[in-house]
Amino acid sequence: MLGYTVRRILQMIPVVIGATFIIFALTFLMPGDPVAALTGARPLPESTVAQIRLAYHLDDPFLVQYGNYMLGLIQGNFGIDFFGRPILGLILERLPTTFALAMTAWVLKLAIGLAIGVYGGLRHGRAGDHFALVFTVIFLGIPGFVIALGAQTVFGVQLGWVDPAGIRAGWPMAFILPALVMAVEASAGLARLTRTSLVDVLRAEYLRTARAKGLSPNRVIWGHALRNAMIPVVTYLGLSLAGMLGGAVLIEAIFNIPGIGGLMVTAINNKEGTVVVGIATMLVLVYLVFNLLVDLLYGIIDPRVRI
């Protein structure tokens, strides 16, 4: 187990290097001038531009810039942005928010997706199954922002159950609505996967055994079917949590949640390469760590792959 973890962590190194390299290269290639974005239509004095370019090594060749960045990264230094703020600080400032949002969304998604999936699986081939499919797909088909704006208006403004925007209310009240929207949107895949997996498991011989033992249908499903049905779902769940961390730009904007997504979009708009790469690095790391956790969790759920 420890050995496995060590090996996995070693495998992360090339991925982190590769991913940062790609993003670094992409931001480098991106048209536009980071310094230009600092003031908008009124350009900065030439001298200031020169100073900034110098201070941030913007005129160095790409590989040198990348090398410097990686050197810093190894020492845990993500660099500073154009306003002199440490990038790591900027990210860490927002990471808990994003994390809270992603986690909440993920848990809700789990609840919704599993519920619908299990329902569909148990009603396999019958009307309920098709109803579950249509239900999830409709949410898949309506663009996220429509759902978000609708939910915001109804629950935030008209009913006033929660603040429609911002996180002043703190967790959980400020996060429930956006998380729910994210969850509803993302639950389709999970529901389908759960359903398919459950249908497979329901056909398994060991469920026959369970029924032949005279167990009640509830016990058969909750005690024997679900855990097995979860095995293929777990990988997906881990990946989706990682995905949610980076993928909530729209929801963050609509609900005014100061998360990584917003920071990232601003950084991209301003072509702040170091910030962008910093975020990407962070997200890649988070993704990899989750991936590892999922695989370890796998071992807990499925004793056959115990490591």
Binding site: T209, R211, R304
Partner: protein
């Protein structure tokens, strides 16, 4: 010709003291809804098992052996399966009509089942001890600890070495033979009166097969259980059972004491089956084989379903279905023989050609 009813073993058994009969299956039919139509997997099945008796059910793949067993256990997937008619009487109670609750009480404790493939029959994510113990918890309301202790005892009983140590292991950590023993332990846990073993050794190799059969036989005799042993394997039937029912295309075509039926088969299919054993004397010759393939269950022929593979076939066979009739009545019911063929005498006469 509508003579399915003629002198079924069940009918004869009615004269015997009823308490001796553990299970009586009467005119059982099982159909499957498939996309291509309705498949009749079991088509008028009749047999009975008495206390302490071992009944072998022989028959080729797809003849409905497992479906029958599952119907008894009430674990058919319905849909697609449904049981249009028939009765399954366990100690007088019709398992098809009792309430679901009563059914759950009976199944697992009065009648239990050993499955063919132990690896797939055991839930991979629960320790075996828990899977055995669950029976005690559900049926007898044992505490977690007591259930575990009982599970260990059961594992000991089926000769799993170091049961105490292995009770928390998972199925995949056991070898095939041990897994099968665990499944048997599960089946025997609540001292059932009837045990159904559906091909318990097919997935095992010969040396382990011998161990398992030995175990089954031993437990059956020890507890005076009824045993239904389902298999393809004639030698296994010979080894373990007293009575044998030979199935073909969803019905019993021959029924009687094992030795009798296998040495002197009265139905062409049993005859083919018995002959296909590759005895040493056949070395260098062609093996006697039953030609052809079994009929399509979606579209059973009007007449005898074996007719298209039968060397005794006559026009009669193609038109009507021969009933299972008593061919050698006997004072003692256990030695009575039944066969469903128009040509039973001819077949019997042909024996040992």
């Amino acid at each position: 010709m509508g003579t399915h009813q003629l002198a079924t073993p069940a009918a004869n058994a009615a004269t015997d003291p009823a308490d001796d009969v553990l299970l009586r299956v009467k005119d059982l039919e099982v159909e499957f809804n498939t996309t291509r139509g309705i498949a009749t997997a079991v088509n008028g099945m009749n047999f009975e098992v008495k206390r302490g008796q071992a009944l072998g059910i022989l028959g080729e793949s797809g003849s409905g052996k497992s479906v029958t067993a599952r119907a008894i256990m009430g674990i058919l997937d319905m849909p697609p399966a449904h049981i249009p008619r028939g009765e399954i009487l366990l100690e007088g109670e019709d398992l098809l009509t009792v309430t679901p609750k009563r059914h759950r009480q009976l199944v697992g404790s009065r009648v239990s089942m050993v499955f063919q493939d132990a690896l797939t029959a055991l839930n991979p994510v629960h320790p075996v001890g828990r899977q055995i113990g669950e029976l005690y918890r559900v049926h007898r309301g044992y505490s977690r600890r007591d259930a575990k202790a009982a599970a260990i005892k059961m594992m000991d009983r089926v000769k799993i070495p170091a049961a105490v140590k292995r009770v928390n292991d998972y199925p995949h950590q056991f070898s095939g033979g041990m897994r099968q023993r665990i499944v048997i332990a599960m089946a025997l846990a609540l001292d059932p009166v009837l045990l159904i073993a559906d091909e318990p050794t097919t997935a095992l190799d010969v040396t382990v097969q011998a161990q398992i059969l030995e175990l089954l036989k031993e437990q059956q005799e020890e507890r005076n259980m009824g045993l239904i042993l389902i298999t393809h394997d004639i030698s296994v039937v010979k080894e373990v059972t007293d009575q044998v029912a030979v199935m073909y295309a969803g019905r019993v075509v021959e029924h009687g004491p094992t030795a009798e039926v296998l040495n002197r088969p009265g139905h062409p299919y049993s005859r083919g089956l018995a002959a296909s054993i590759a005895g040493e004397e056949l070395k260098g010759q062609r093996l006697p084989a039953i030609p052809g393939t079994p009929p399509d269950l979606l579209n059973l022929p009007a007449g005898c379903s074996f007719a298209n593979r039968c060397s005794f076939v006559t026009d009669n066979c193609l038109e009507s279905i021969p009933a299972l009739e008593t061919i050698e009545a006997s004072r003692h019911i256990d030695t009575a023989r039944h066969s469903a063929c128009f040509h039973t005498p001819k077949v019997l006469a042909h024996v040992n050609v």
